[in-house]
Subunit: 566 residues, 2 copies
């Protein structure tokens, strides 16, 4: 069957309300992922029964039609309210995977030319429709989309300047994702932009972006407390603007506070005496760079990206000894291999030359059901393992505990499960192999003392500096902190798929929990992720908010029951 | 004859060195404008004899070939050193106009992807190859092009921040050219950008642009003196960086100091007593906005853009009386009419939708020989005059002296002749018609007194504020000020075509004098103009500098003799 035939049959089954026929066009275990176009939700239906259930609940209102093939895999379609783009993978007569996405609402399309007519300065509002807490790339991308859609939105950011959350990190920090993956909506990085954006450059870009896109962005503004009024169906949000109290009353509250918002620092025995003797003990988020530690001894706990970067920086800046204390295995992949094998087909100069635009790349990624992702990723990592066998042999010899994930599915899957636990090799692994960075693997810090650190393996290391690159707490903590424990528990765990791997307990849910979609708390939303996710999913979150702003009916199909509190 | 046939004949005549045959393909009075591809100059050959002379001098070295038609009017071609784009207007068998432009040098193409590989921070240099004096849109656009071409360049700007030359003007200042005309190279304004950019927005955009393009831009740095060493064939440039002396030794010096760099303030009898009585007398460039003049009396001398803008601002902000003193006729055109009839076909949302890219629009403008421009512009102004007859009737009734140029060719031609003398109506003309702005036409200020101004028509006006919107001196003054009177006189007049109209004395030279092309002073260049010119001509200036930087032979065909000193 050709995609054209399949779409024709599919469209006609939907138009005549024949749910069985429509579901029968899928493989028995086939997938239909919908982003907001049928479900007003982000939802993957797995298998014919779930497809049927979804259609039974939504078809009458959605009124899908006009399925038009655009190429072997891509098509466009319409619903009662909007226009969409879809992607189809056929195997024989049946769909293996189908993606349907809403791209715009009829009559409420993005404003472009008509926005030119005025100077269009943001007019500060006490009652924005949307308040976005957190002005990093996530909050900014969403605010830009809402601006284009004409939805009044305010971003509040506790730092003094947009971009400070990047600027305040250690000096050597760069993005480890390549530039083609990192564009913000509407304003791509210019052609000369470095492949791996240095953090201050990223900060400056975000600051520029806020200005150029004319967002209502309130820096130096901390969110203290948000209370939802059941009567008014609106939030009362208490802020401190440069220390002065300010209250805003938005209808919707978006937490874009970052996956790395709450540093996790384990309790350390002897911390006080370590510090009294002149040692510095801190979380990686507070580390400012290796320059101050020339000739000194440093111990870094952890083996993820920050731990590697910080060890590399300390060694490069001339620390006398740098030791990484590895608690658990991490995925390590050479940047070049990842670029070529994992990102290259979609996010690279070559992809751009082949005509793969950023939206097409993003939709292609979105078209892969999360359930299928590991089996598609495993061959990439098998190839990487072979190609970079010298790296892995070297790491093994140095005693480094590396992994490719519990099921061999690598970094991308791990990121979706727990957002941490990997390093993209850009130099530090080689330093571990060479012994320039010392390694203590499978150990934890037992106790800090005067200018030293005792490990669980009985060894003791001289130490002036003790860095805990031990990661971050979940985004739920922000809901708990800013709203209430009750609301945080009602909403439940944010992020993760239910893969039943470390830090991502089952049951399987098939979508990232609570991200960019309706939560169990009315008018509360979570937004964030890496630059690609912030870019792409901000579209669907913005469309959900726009539809509500315009008073369109947005019946939400299926809200995941809460299985875990954090 | 089809363009394809013509190009085939033309290319083959050039390849076999048959200059007569090549020249015979032009109308007897036909035009060939070359931008750097044949002449290493900006040169319009008018008539067959000039075409022959040019080819006789250049053909052997240029080795043009590979003329390939791309559409009815556009073609590409090659020379020994580079690749070019051309434009042809045929009439019957002969070319009426031909444009040839160099677009890139073989082996020295712009760097894009390879620049991504490093973080590529500018490394401050004491000996840049090019020093650009003046960091407005002109200097910035050129620096961006040189950056992409790998030519070390420094921009010095006396203001504290990039964009300050815009920020420091009166509050109501907006660009009067529409956004499609105003893009900087490489980074177009985003889609939501206002049609008429307000001046602070323009300032912020330039400041962002400098950062994002990573230019070596030294703000707070004033150029004091530049001396050319005949032995070293280089400049010694004395600067003050925040008051501290600094010397740079570039090979090339570019004056991008702006057409509006030297305010012209006529001597005023009684100025001292006017000011002693508490009046403020100043040039329009120092006017900060009408807010301070609520309830006061203001007199504004001049009837160009600044005079109109300032009168409008003063009236809008509540001045008790605002009088414009018109010395000489000005062109007035409604913005909407200009947008639709003059810019619309090339620079508009509709043009973009029709696929007219910014480079194509720029090249189309460049394809019109300056000699032909008036006859092409006159019908536009005839139409405008008809369409907006109410406006002109109103102005006439109010006593305003309007014109469409000495030969009826309008704003664009006037701008090329003298860079001043017109107003694009965005409200002030209506205020003159309504009497909200008072008018004294054909008069000059005889004398200022205590709180009053006496005019040459015998009238006396009460005045707290006296603004001279009397324009600017020529760019030559910068050469005189920064280098020497000798060099300024050697180079001669900058700008203007020799149209033998007011402020643009003959003889006819066919190109803008000394702009973007070799001057009589070795290694000295002038750059500037409006945003479109800064964008488009910076390409040809950058290619000329790049060729010299790489040591390519750049024999310059024809340097215009100096007819006027300023």
């Amino acid at each position: 069957m050709t995609p054209r035939d399949w779409l024709q049959k599919f469209g006609s089954a939907l138009e005549r309300g024949d749910i069985n026929a429509a579901a029968g066009l899928f493989e028995p275990e086939g997938f239909w992922r919908d982003l907001v176009s049928f479900t007003w939700n982000l939802k993957t239906c797995e298998g014919r029964a779930e497809v049927k259930a979804m259609l039974a609940a939504t078809l009458a209102e959605v009124k899908p039609r006009n399925f038009i093939p655009k190429s072997a895999e891509w098509f466009t379609f319409e619903t009662a309210l909007g226009r969409g783009i879809g992607h189809l993978r056929l195997r024989g007569k049946h769909a293996w995977t189908l993606l349907t996405t809403l791209q715009e609402l009829k009559g409420f399309e993005e404003r472009r030319e008509e926005m030119r007519s005025s100077s269009n300065e943001p007019s500060p509002s006490q009652a924005p429709y949307v308040l976005i807490v957190g002005g990093g790339q996530g909050g900014i991308a969403l605010a830009a989309r809402l601006k284009r859609l004409g939805v009044p939105a305010v971003v509040v950011e506790k730092n003094e300047r947009a971009g400070d959350s990047w600027r305040k990190r250690y000096a050597s920090l760069c993005l480890h994702d390549p530039v083609w993956y990192d564009h913000m909506p509407y304003l791509p990085f210019p052609e000369h932009w470095p492949v791996f954006t240095p953090k201050d450059r990223m900060g400056d870009w975000l600051e520029m972006y806020v200005k150029v896109m004319q967002l209502d962005y309130r820096s130096g503004t901390e969110c203290v407390r948000a209370i939802f009024s059941e009567e008014e169906k609106a939030w009362e949000v208490h802020l401190l603007k440069n220390g002065e109290p300010l209250t805003l009353r938005p209808k919707h509250l978006v937490l874009a506070t970052g996956m790395s918002g709450f540093p996790y620092l384990p309790p350390v025995k002897g911390a006080a005496s370590f510090q009294q003797a002149g040692g510095l003990l801190l979380h990686s988020s507070k580390f400012e760079g290796g320059a101050a530690w020339k000739g000194k001894h440093a111990v870094v706990v952890g083996s993820g990206t920050s731990a590697h970067d910080i060890c590399q920086d300390l060694h490069t800046q001339g620390a006398a000894e740098v030791t990484m204390v590895q608690r658990a295995p991490s995925i390590v992949v050479r940047s070049e291999s990842l670029m070529e094998l994992a990102w290259g087909p979609l996010y690279s100069e070559q992809a751009v030359a082949r005509g793969v635009s950023t939206p097409i790349a993003d939709l292609t990624v979105a078209s892969v059901p999360f359930k299928v992702l590991p089996e598609l990723q495993r061959p990439i990592y098998a190839e990487i393992r072979k190609r970079d066998h010298e790296l892995y042999a070297g790491l093994e010899k140095a005693g480094f505990q590396y992994t490719f994930g519990e099921d061999g599915s690598g970094i991308h899957a791990l990121y979706l499960r727990r957002g941490a636990g990997y390093y993209i090799e850009t130099g530090a692994s080689q330093m571990i192999i060479d012994g320039r960075i010392k390694l203590k693997a499978g150990a934890i810090v037992e106790e800090a003392g005067e200018k030293s650190v005792k490990l669980s393996d009985g060894s003791e290391l001289p130490a002036d500096l003790l860095v805990f690159a031990t990661g971050y707490g979940s985004m739920n903590q922000w809901a708990r902190e800013l709203i209430s424990a009750e609301v945080a528990d009602k909403v439940g765990k944010v992020w993760g798929l239910g893969s039943d791997t470390k830090a991502d307990p089952g049951p399987w849910v098939g979508e990232l929990r609570n991200m960019w979609k309706p939560t169990a708390q009315e008018n509360l939303w979570f937004h964030g992720g890496n630059l690609m996710q912030s870019r792409h999913y901000s579209l669907y979150l913005a469309l959900q908010l726009k539809a509500r702003f315009e008073g369109l009916a947005t019946p939400v199909y299926y809200v995941e029951p809460v299985h875990h509190l954090s």
